[in-house]
């Protein structure tokens, strides 16, 4: 066991880099930020103890460039790299190279990353461990005729998904034989183009199912602990906008079963460090594993707010070889997160990069703000447009909703349009209060053309 790290390099930017820096500082660990020339003034580069420019704005030449990041870690003598989310966080090759260079990768083994990245193989492994998966093909589909046979046997509609997929790419829905035949071809082409891997598989499409994920933490000593669930049903363009925990759709006994299934799934793929197990919850109360996310997620703060744990700290502790030291956590209260993107919801979520002049972010009781914003910051056009996460905590869901809605009203970003007002409208609305979080909810608050 190498002992706790003294120097960690953060291979990311923006709010998650700031988040990791804060966790490191609270642990007494020296932080090293990397930045592209477009991010010279970004808060993460300013807050870190040391900052190093690794390349031009293009992600492939900076935040996605493995040699440059490894080289930065080597010359700054970093003992470990935290990848954040996105960029290289689920890149098995990067995790491998880090360890080859004797730099700890703060995340799962590259084997576990590979397995969770191959969605079809992951399904099989999890199914073998006795966790229910959405009915579908046993592995990849190579022949349209095979697809039709499976589609007919489990009943339409059917979802065609890319094994290497993500973000809705390479995903198609088919309601009959003819459509399915087409969908298989199209999805394979899309997947080939997007991921360089045309493998696709079939899943039954569950109507009115809810997206519920379970946060897990696994140490290198074989202990896996579930940190409760998050519901992330409010999305725009397959990207989450509002997340909460606990989910109103679960009873305590369903929650216990789901958490148990998540732990079993993690063990089935030999997972370590922080991960998220995604499930579909059908209207009849049955749930099905869909995929495994091998990273810390954007929405991890809602789990932190109800459990009291710092999940980034737990990630670092696990990577340093420490054992979790507990076998269960007991969430309390309710937490909801709203994401502020520099996008205009009135105009089809058109990105709005540019300079933020005056700025006011909310505060006060029950409000947590994770952000890299400061007055005068220029939002660059090269990266994800997320500016801030506003997280509200309450003793119950009502209190969390009231606090979040009012905090969102307080947000003031001069010269830049954000999703704050939209999120305020959504959480204040009757449907959200009732917990009726269907995929069509967001559309009610958007101009017809923007949906």
């Amino acid at each position: 066991m190498p002992g706790m790290f003294r120097r960690i390099l953060i291979a990311n930017r923006g709010e998650i880099a700031v988040r990791v820096i804060r966790a490191c500082r609270a642990m007494g660990i020296t932080t090293i930020a990397v930045y592209s020339t477009a991010d010279r003034d970004c808060l993460h580069a300013q807050l870190a103890d040391e900052s190093i420019c690794i390349g031009p704005p293009s992600p492939t030449e900076s935040y996605l460039n493995i040699p440059r990041i490894i080289s930065a870690a080597e010359i700054t003598d970093a003992q470990a790299i935290h990848p954040g989310y996105g960029f290289l966080s689920e890149n098995a090759k990067f995790a491998n190279i880090c360890r080859d260079c004797h730099i700890e990768f703060i995340g799962p083994s590259s084997k576990a990353i590979s397995l969770s990245g191959d969605k079809s193989a992951c399904r099989q492994a999890v199914k073998a461990a006795g966790v229910p998966i959405v009915p579908g093909s046993d592995g990849l589909i190579t022949d349209p005729a095979e697809a039709i046979r499976i589609g007919e046997s489990m009943g339409f509609p059917v979802l065609v998904k890319a094994a290497a997929g993500g973000g809705g790419k390479g995903m198609r829905i088919a309601h009959n034989d003819a459509a399915l035949k087409n969908a298989v071809k199209m999805a394979a082409q899309e997947a080939e183009a997007a991921f360089g891997d045309g493998g696709v598989y079939l899943e039954k499409f569950l109507e009115n199912a809810r997206h519920i994920e379970v946060q897990i933490m696994a140490d290198n000593q074989g202990r896996v602990v579930a940190f409760g669930e998050r519901e992330c049903s409010i999305q725009r363009r397959h990207q989450k906008l509002i997340e909460e925990t606990p989910s109103v759709a679960l009873t305590n006994s369903m929650r216990a079963k789901l958490c148990k299934a998540a732990v079993r799934a993690a063990k089935a793929i030999g997972y370590t460090n922080a991960g998220t197990v995604e499930f579909l919850l059908a209207p009849d109360g049955y749930f099905y594993f869909i995929e495994f996310n091998a990273r810390i997620q954007v929405e991890h703060p809602v789990t932190e707010e109800v459990t009291g744990f710092d999940l980034i700290r737990e990630q670092i502790r696990i990577a340093a070889g420490e054992s979790l030291g507990y076998s269960a956590v007991k969430p309390q209260g309710h937490a909801i997160e709203a994401r502020l993107y520099a996008e205009d919801p009135e105009h089809n979520f058109r990105p709005c990069p540019g300079k933020i002049g005056k700025l006011h972010l909310p505060g006060g009781i029950g409000i947590r703000v994770d952000s890299h914003l400061y007055p005068g910051y220029v939002v660059p056009r090269y990266y994800d447009s997320m500016l801030a996460k506003i997280i509200a905590r309450g003793r119950n869901r009502e209190e969390a909703i009231d606090r979040l809605a009012n905090a969102l009203d307080e947000v003031y970003t001069d010269q830049i349009v954000t999703t704050a007002a939209l999120c305020a409208k959504v959480v204040r609305g009757d449907r959200f209060r009732r917990g009726d979080l269907g995929p069509d909810l967001l559309a009610e608050y958007l101009p017809k053309t923007s949906v």
Binding site: I52, C53, I54, R68, S71, E74, T76
Partner: protein, 152 residues
């Protein structure tokens, strides 16, 4: 005064990072200034270095470039993050020294990144005025390595 010309001048100043522009010709003088922007300090100085942390941390490799960039009009920048070497090997003479006349195919130094030695060539015909980095020193992307005087 020609308004179109004035507009052009104003736009020029706005888009630059300068704060004043003054032109005097024949019997005409135009002066433009920008005060608001100047009220913002360079962002890297916005946050006081956290006392405890910086006391504990070793010197950052990224400390030098900002000053250097100001001081030299023409430089050869590091094309990557890595360790700067002025010569092909220990004990060997440096590729170039101050006063050397180099062309675009001259190797001026090596940047080692991930155990790979990357030869860096001059980007233009020039005279090396000063070597800005010590051999063996870590450098970041875009960090000036040599001050030069173009000859072409």
């Amino acid at each position: 005064m020609d308004i179109t010309e004035l507009k052009e001048l104003m736009r020029l100043l706005e888009e630059s990072t300068l704060s004043e522009l003054e032109i005097e010709e024949d019997n005409r003088r135009v002066r433009l200034s920008k005060a608001v922007q100047a009220a913002y300090a360079p962002p890297m100085q916005q946050f006081a270095p956290p006392a405890a942390a910086s006391a504990a941390a070793p010197a950052a490799p990224a400390a030098a470039p900002d000053d250097a960039e100001e001081a030299w009009a023409h430089v050869i920048e590091s094309p990557m993050v890595g360790t700067f070497y002025s010569s092909p090997g220990p004990g060997e003479p440096p590729f170039v020294q101050a006063g050397a006349r180099v062309s675009t195919d001259t190797t001026v130094c090596i940047i080692e990144a991930m155990k790979i030695m990357n030869e860096v060539a001059a980007k233009e015909d020039c005279i090396i005025e000063r070597v800005l980095v010590e051999s063996g020193q870590p450098v970041e992307f875009g960090q000036p390595l040599f001050a030069i005087r173009p000859t072409s």
